[in-house]
Symmetry: C2
Subunit: 300 residues, 2 copies
C-alpha cells in the first residue's frame, strides 16, 4: 500500500514529479472534482496560514513603540503594503526541507519589509514622476521617504537578531543576509525598477523581452531568493537549496509575466506554460505530502 502512496508516485514519475492537480492512488471516497476542490481548499488554507503567520510576526516585530514618530508610520506602511508570495514561499520552503516555519520567519518578515520599502518609495509623489500617483497618502512624502529608508535596515536588523548562538546558525544567517541584500539591492529589484521606468515610458506593452527582463529582476529573483533562503534556514542540503531556488525563480517569472503581459499574447502564454512546467520539475524528490501546496502555487 505504501508503494501506491504519494511517495511512490513521485518516485515513479521520473522527470515530472506531480500530476497537476495531483490525485492520490485511492480517490474512491471523493469524486475527482470534489477531491480537486477539497485539495485546493486545503492548499489555500496552507498558504493562508503561512501569510497569517508572517503577518503576526511582522506585527510583533514592528509593534508601535518609541520613537513613535518612526514606529507608528513604519507599522502602518509595512502592514498596508499588499502581501507578496515571496515571504510565504520562504517559510514554506523551510518546512519543505524539514525545518519549522519559525526558523524562516525573520527572513520572511525581512523580505516583506524590503517589498514594503520598494512599494512605499514607488508611490512617492516626486516632481518628475511620469506615472499617476495614488491620491491617498496617510503620511506626507517626507515621512514616506524617511520610513522607506528606515524599513530596509530594520529588515536586516531582524535578520541578524534571528541568529541563535546556541544553535550555531550564524553561517546560515549571514548567507541569507547576503542573498536578501543582493536581491533588494544593486543586482535585483532596483535594476528591475529601472527597466520598469523605461517600460512605462516606452508605452509599448508588447515588448516581451522587456517584460521578461523586468519580471526576472522583480518577481523572479524575489521569489528565487525567498525559496532559497527558506531552504537554507531549514537546513536543506545544497541540492534541495538549488532546486527550491530554481522553483522560486520560475514561479516568480510566471507571476511577473502574467501580471505585466497581455494574456491574449500566445507567445507569452506559451512561455508561461513552459516556465510552469520547469517549476514543477524542480519538486522531484521532496516530501510528497508537502509538495502539493507548492504545485498549487504554479497553477493559474
Amino acid at each position: 500500500m505504501a508503494l501506491a502512496g504519494a511517495g511512490a508516485l513521485l518516485h515513479l514519475n521520473g522527470n515530472r514529479i506531480v500530476q497537476f492537480p495531483y490525485r492520490p492512488a485511492n480517490p474512491t471516497r471523493l469524486s475527482p472534482s470534489s477531491y480537486n476542490k477539497a485539495m485546493m481548499v486545503m492548499n489555500q488554507s496552507y498558504w493562508d496560514s503561512i501569510h497569517a503567520d508572517v503577518e503576526t510576526h511582522l506585527r510583533e516585530a514592528i509593534h508601535v513603540r518609541p520613537p513613535l514618530s518612526v514606529y507608528e508610520p513604519m507599522h502602518h506602511l509595512a502592514l498596508e503594503t499588499p502581501q507578496n508570495t515571496a515571504p510565504a514561499l520562504c517559510a514554506a520552503a523551510c518546512e519543505l526541507v524539514g525545518g519549522h516555519r519559525d526558523q524562516a520567519m525573520a527572513a520572511a518578515a525581512a523580505l516583506h519589509l524590503m517589498h514594503a520599502a520598494t512599494y512605499t518609495h514607488g508611490h512617492l509623489p516626486l516632481t518628475d514622476r511620469s506615472k499617476p500617483m495614488i491620491t491617498h497618502h496617510a503620511y506626507g512624502p517626507n515621512i514616506e521617504l524617511l520610513i522607506g529608508d528606515a524599513i530596509i535596515p530594520f529588515g536586516f536588523e531582524l535578520l541578524s537578531m534571528s541568529d541563535d548562538s546556541a544553535r550555531d546558525i550564524s553561517d546560515r544567517v549571514l548567507r541569507v543576509i547576503i542573498e536578501i541584500a543582493r536581491v533588494t539591492g544593486s543586482q535585483g529589484i532596483i535594476s528591475g525598477q529601472y527597466h520598469e521606468i523605461q517600460y512605462d515610458e516606452s508605452k509599448n506593452n508588447h515588448d516581451l523581452e522587456l517584460i521578461k527582463r523586468i519580471s526576472e529582476k522583480k518577481e523572479g529573483e524575489l521569489h528565487e531568493c525567498g525559496a532559497k533562503c527558506g531552504a537554507i534556514l531549514g537546513g536543506g542540503n545544497e541540492d534541495e537549496v538549488e532546486k527550491l531556488r530554481k522553483f522560486g525563480f520560475y514561479v516568480g517569472m510566471v507571476k511577473g509575466m502574467l501580471h505585466r503581459g497581455d494574456k491574449s499574447d500566445e507567445i507569452l502564454m506559451r512561455e508561461v506554460e513552459e516556465l510552469k512546467s520547469l517549476a514543477l520539475d524542480q519538486l522531484t524528490g521532496f516530501n510528497a505530502t508537502k509538495v502539493e501546496a507548492f504545485a498549487n502555487l504554479v497553477g493559474s
Copy 2:
C-alpha cells in the same frame, strides 16, 4: 626612560589620559610650537590616510559594472557624498585595539554608504519640501530615489561578505550588522532626520534641547556606532568596546552641536567643552602612540 615615555604619562595621569596637545617627555629637539605643528601634521596625515583607504575600498567595492544603470549612478552618488568622520573612526578604532584597519574596511565602507543614502535622499526634490534644494543633480529624482534604496542593502552585502569563515568571525560580523542596522534604521538617523524636519520648520535656531536631540541621533550615534564596530572587529575586549563607543558618541555630539548650533551661545559652548573632556576621559589605558590622533579628533 620608558617610565618617562608616553605610556607612563598615561598611567600617571589617572582620570585624564592625555594632555591636549600631548607633549613627549623629551621635546628638546623641537620648540613647543614647532612640535605641536609637527604633531598636528602627523595626526592630520593619519586621518588623511584612513580617509584615503576608505575611499579606495569604496571605489573598488562599487566599481562600475553591469547593471551599468545601477552601478554607474551608485558609484557617482556614493563618491560624491562628502566624507564623514564616522567611517574613519571605525577603521581607527580597529587599529587602536590592536587590529589591522583592513578588518574594519567593509564596516567603514558600509557606514559611508548609509551616510550617502541619507545624503542622497535628503536632497531629493519632493513636492512638499520646505527646504531649498541644491540645484545641480547629475541624475533625475527617480534615479536618485532608486539608487539611495540600492545603496543601503549594498552596504549590508559588503558587510556580510566580509565574513571570513577561516577566521571564525561570523559572530563579530553579525554584531556589527545589528549595530549598523540600528543606527541607520528606525532607532537612529531616521529619528534624527525627523527631529531635523521639525527644527527646520520651527525656525528657532536657539532651541538647544532640539539641537542636542538631533545631534545625538545623527552625528552622535553614527560616530558611536563607527567606533564601537571598529573595536568589535579589531578584537577589542568589552571594556575597550564600551570606552570607544562612548568616545565616538561624545565626538559625534561635539561635531553635531558645533555644526548646528550658534557658536556665540555660551551655554552651548560650555556643554561642548564638557563633552570634549568626557571624550578624552575614555581614552585612558589605550596604546599611547595611537591615542594622540584620537585626541586630535576632539580638538576644535
